[in-house]
Subunit: 730 residues, 2 copies
């Protein structure tokens, strides 16, 4: 590694630093864009939008206030607007030749050159990585990225003296702050670190400062253990899964792409876009596959559910990827929804394609995908099983990945499901009102940790009312579940099985989810979930459903006159106990309505179980939580198997005033065989019989298994088989 770094440092001496601009785009590139503006509507529209905004500031005095407010407050929003304004104005200088745009950038930059050397830590700083212009260093890094590109875009219009003033006054204090005061943070392998490296690196390219670029690439010590290359190697799995999950890859993808693009211009010899088998291409595709049909990122770990792929970050990544990796129909679908482009070569090229393409698909080409997690791909993973297409897509997400750093949730073996665009079984997401000053300055709210990240907020087993890994990030970071087996080649039988041995000291959790396509287009999920222990425990399996209760097969008692919380800690304190039941030796069935579709959870109850209907809102005097329901099955014992079937069924038509297939088809669930080696489950659905046999220990593809079921032998090969009326389901 040392040797490689040395060679690269040597090569970098031939960098084309003399040229400007270079970071966001080259001079020749922008000349090309300039000629295209009037040709392609989306490019023109994007240009006009920027120009309209910047022009409104041309004759005005732009405020560069002394930092004071948290996110959502005036000084925060002003500084954020300033770096965008400078960047856009720099672009317009290149695209119009009008020197007033360069002057606007210069005026603001000179104010920062005066302000920045005077700054100490921000008065609202609460995190371990305080900012100076902003409350957190992350926002300062954003500022460096855009301000660096802005400076580069107008560099040629400045006198050497102006350059020195700006580089020493505006940039150096910030770069020094990041790379010295916040050195450990700068060197972290984390999305903040990606932004920090991109910021320092882009300023390095803009100012011709090789030291800055080298620190950005290889860490402050230039060993390669930190820095951008390490971020590329460490935060993605080999197939492009970002360890923090899709919400944060959405955020990190911008500095990854924008710095890679700058490096591609400034240090082409790095061949950064080809790095690690084009990891950035895989990362973008994986990010897009992890969205719902409306473009919203799927809520793995901390996630704001409103975020979708029309966000600025994805516009940037897609327009650069289009140029770096070539045309792609999926990217074009997303670009059409974005309805705006970057004013660079990629953006102009997409705008041209949008103008000439007919029949651009309206939905991204979603497919079943499975990703491994961890830099080496050996830290579990996550599966997105899909059935149907376009608006009629079902997406089942099953998580058995590593914790996902500081934004991770304690939800090993958890699932959530989207159907027809609706989030039918949900992950709460994160407790945060981003940019809303009244809500703790737009930061993560306390309930994010105390509720949303806790296991009970998810759809997986909670033992003894404690979260996985006891809710400790340090422990969670060292562990992850392992995939036992999966099969997704038969579209009608998609199955993933995973085992978690460390969430609790003396309990193994083994869950297998089958997404099955039955005759006549019916879709069901079969969920076989073993909790294995030699000690007695209380096991809760919640289903975080979204919808209105329509019917249950069992009698329950509602908390009609008073409501109390379900528990006292680990997230339980936030759940009102709305209703409960004790059920015994039965199939507990619960039907709810979401939008215009019915969903039924049918669960085998052997011996007895308790059932709870809960709703968030207890112990939430600040109204930080949405009021959301959950259906929880509670069993006590040593080893327990939760066998459930989720049916997607019927149609509620309030306009036509009729319902079809509003009742579930499942009549019975039986475990015909269940021990440490095998499970055979049988589901009676009307006159049809579904039988699933699976291995619990030997997951090899070639082994032949035989078990006695109902007195006769049942034989199959490999980890599982699914029979429908005695025939293998296709």
């Amino acid at each position: 590694m040392r040797l490689i770094v040395a060679v690269i440092l040597l090569l970098s001496s031939v960098m084309a630093y003399a040229q400007h601009p270079l970071a966001f785009a080259t001079k020749a590139e922008l000349e090309g864009v300039k000629k295209s503006i009037t040709k392609y509507p989306v490019l023109q529209k994007s240009f006009v939008e920027i120009k309209k905004d910047v022009d409104s500031w041309l004759e005005k005095d732009v405020d560069v206030p002394f930092p004071k407010d948290p996110a959502g407050g005036y000084t925060h929003d002003r500084h954020k607007a300033n770096y965008t304004l400078m960047f856009n104005s720099g672009l317009l200088y290149n695209l119009t030749g009008d020197v007033r745009y360069a002057t606007l950038v210069k005026t603001i930059l000179l104010k920062y050159a005066t302000l920045n050397p005077t700054l100490k830590n921000h008065p609202q700083a609460t995190s371990s990585s305080p900012g100076r212009i902003f409350w957190q260093a992350l926002n300062d890094a954003n500022w460096l990225v855009y301000t660096g590109m802005a400076y580069d875009l107008v560099y040629n219009s400045f006198t050497p003296a102006e350059r020195k003033t700006i580089e020493d006054g505006a940039f150096k204090p910030e770069v020094d702050f990041m790379t010295k005061d916040l050195k450990p943070w700068f060197n972290l392998i984390h999305n903040h670190g990606v932004w920090a490296c991109a910021g320092v690196g882009i300023v390095g390219i803009a100012t011709g400062n090789k030291e800055y670029v080298d620190m950005a690439l290889y860490g402050t010590e230039k060993t390669g253990k930190a820095g951008f290359i390490a971020q590329l190697d460490g935060l993605f799995s080999p197939d492009g899964y970002y360890t923090e999950g899709p919400y944060y890859v959405r955020y990190a993808i911008l500095p990854y792409y924008i710095f890679a693009n700058a490096l591609n211009n400034a240090r082409p010899e790095l061949k950064i876009f080809g790095h690690r088998n084009s990891i950035l291409k895989k990362a973008l595709e994986a990010g897009l596959q992890q969205t719902n049909i409306n473009g919203a990122f799927l809520p793995v770990n901390d996630a704001l559910k409103e975020k979708d792929f029309t966000s600025n970050e994805l516009v940037t990544a897609i327009d650069i990827a289009w140029d770096a990796y070539g045309k792609d129909a999926g990217l074009l679908t997303v670009a059409a929804k974005q309805d705006r482009v970057l004013l660079n070569r990629g953006g102009a090229s997409i705008a041209a394609e949008l103008a000439s393409s007919k029949n651009i698909k309206t939905v991204y080409p979603y497919k079943t995908v499975e990703y491994v997690d961890g830099a080496k791909g050996d830290e579990g993973g996550i599966s997105f099983l899909r059935m149907g297409k376009d608006a009629d897509l079902t997406t089942l997400t099953f998580k058995y990945a590593s914790h996902g750093l500081s934004h991770g949730h304690y939800d090993q073996l958890g699932f959530f499901m989207f159907d027809k665009g609706a989030e039918v079984f949900q992950d709460y997401g994160s407790v945060r009102f981003i940019g809303v000053e009244q809500k703790y300055g737009g930061r993560y709210l306390p309930e994010n940790k105390t509720y949303a990240a806790q296991t009970i907020a998810h759809s997986t087993i909670v033992a003894d009312e404690k979260s996985h890994y006891d809710g400790k990030e340090a422990v969670a970071e060292k562990n992850h579940a392992e995939k036992a087996f999966s099969s997704v080649s038969n579209p009608a039988v998609q199955v993933v099985s995973a085992i978690e041995r460390n969430a609790y000291p003396d309990i193994d959790l083994h869950r297998t989810l089958y997404l099955l396509g039955l005759p006549a287009g019916k879709r069901i999920i079969v969920d076989l979930f073993h909790a294995i222990s030699s000690n007695q425990h209380q096991y809760d399996l919640p289903f975080q459903y979204n919808g209105q209760l329509i019917n249950t097969s069992f009698k329950y008692k509602g908390a009609t006159a008073a409501q109390r919380p379900l528990g006292t800690k680990n997230g339980y304190q936030f759940l009102w106990r709305e209703a409960e039941a004790t059920v015994r030796d039965t199939i507990a069935q619960f039907t709810f309505l979401n939008g215009r579709t019915y969903y039924t959870v049918s669960s085998l109850i052997q011996d007895s179980a308790q059932v709870f209907f809960t709703r968030t809102g207890a112990n939430d005097p600040d109204f930080n939580l949405r009021r959301e329901p959950s259906y929880i099955i509670r069993k006590n014992g040593a080893a327990q198997t939760f066998a459930s079937v989720i049916e997607i069924h019927g149609k509620f038509d309030p306009i036509g005033e009729f319902s079809t297939a509003s009742y579930p088809l499942v009549k019975a669930i039986e475990l015909k065989y269940n021990d440490e080696n095998f499970t055979v489950a049988e589901v009676k659905m009307g006159k049809d019989i579904l039988r699933i046999a699976q291995c619990n220990k030997d997951f090899s593809a070639a082994t032949k298994h035989t078990v006695k079921v109902d007195g006769s032998s049942m034989t199959w090969t490999g980890p599982f088989t699914v029979l429908y009326n005695n025939k293998i389901l296709q």
Copy 2:
């Protein structure tokens, strides 16, 4: 009246009964449609859809089961499907000449001819108007309408013997049942009665039975006090407002139009479409004005909020209106969203217009409208104040109408507000899952009366925890509020003031709502609500907001560890008490977020008041209610004025991660003058001052008023004036 009826009965002897078909469309008309099918895409699509469905039944034995199930159950849905199938098949017989379609109708009709004479009241009948084929007579009336048209469409293909079998077996028992067994119901002036008259009348036209048609037109006694003409005269106000509200006009508009259309063919001398200054044209336009920008009917009285103007009823009404009253751009916008047409002359004509029109507006041309209620227009009314256009429309509904028959709610002087398509201050609507068998057979649920209709479920004053008129329909039907004054000619200052004197024995309620457009496009509502009594009362003013609490100006205490209902009856028993506060001599401000917009309610608190945050769900073990929040201000005293300002403000952008104008501008509200004659309210908004002066007694337009405010004289003419920084607001 007797004389007129006699003359009309005389004239009716010249009816063109010999011709068939006549009820849905004439032979010549259908010949024309036939030629157009391949010309216009929407017409062709509508034809193909019907044909596909009917063809799938051509060689099958269609079940005509003995009635057994409630709505949502098999026999209900089968009979419903059967009348649609017969009607469509009858149409196809005329449009294709294929005799198999006539045979299909005949086969089914003959089964009904066998079944119907054997029927007693439906086993699931629970209402005072039981059905025979269905659980309620209303559905039997639907059956008569469509089956009558179906018979008429294939009449020419039957032998006289077949006709007699069908007329005596299928129709006569049903017509006799309606006009004899259910005579009082048939003669009711109510939407059920409209359906019943349409059913009997259409069967009369189809079978050439003058007696049936006469009963349909003038009631069983043929006095004109009941029947279709009386329904046209009695259920609409002179300007077309339907007394049950928009949800039920949506339902009634179909039998009105389809029977009017049939009469137009069979008894053209009635000039039915011109009746009462074209009341059906006014009714349809009023119905469409009472929708949200997504086409959903506004929730006045019992209403299912999913219902929109793409429903079958509106397709029928619009296609007939287009033919009867001529082309209209608004109707075309609705027709484009419906994306299907009737296979008649109007439908073909709309399809032609849709094919040739460019730039059809995507949003119906909504405007501010005010309707009087009552056949004579003297029973109060309802105002829909509007500001903005297209997707940025604000609609403020203010109700001071008559009760609205059996589906009325006890919400005199209640308001609700839609903004940007979202229901920001809501009416709960109705508690019903239509067509869902598991939810009480799809009927209205008990909570519809016990919660949704009660006053506390609305945004108007509740005194002493009792609903208006003590929640008694008979009392409510005899009373209504009265408009004091209104002005909607200045788009920036729209105001409606109404008084209710009978909701409580010793309390007068007087509410005035101002929808104001301030500079820079800001919209606010000023709400001046007097409760006037000489006795002590508890007054609750709820705001049924939809959204997430963002901030309050006052401290409150959350019910964190246990939650109890707010009251014990009149709807209060369903409200969980989530949080509460006592506030004193202040402006109580409450900001919430709905979608991407902030809303703040600022309320003047003189002396002291209690504030409650509640949520539905208490005493609801069947989960029949949605969980919805409310913000309630409670004051005690004799006379009280509730002065509130609702601000629509700012933008929450979770994708761009910023908020603008998330804080309210209102800093103070003062009542500068307030007695039985005048109220002068002053609102400080930042540096701006809004002053409203209004009369509480003399509402004449010409009177000049002078009051002393802050020691100087204030003068205005007419019932109100609105000043903004001392200038009249324009």
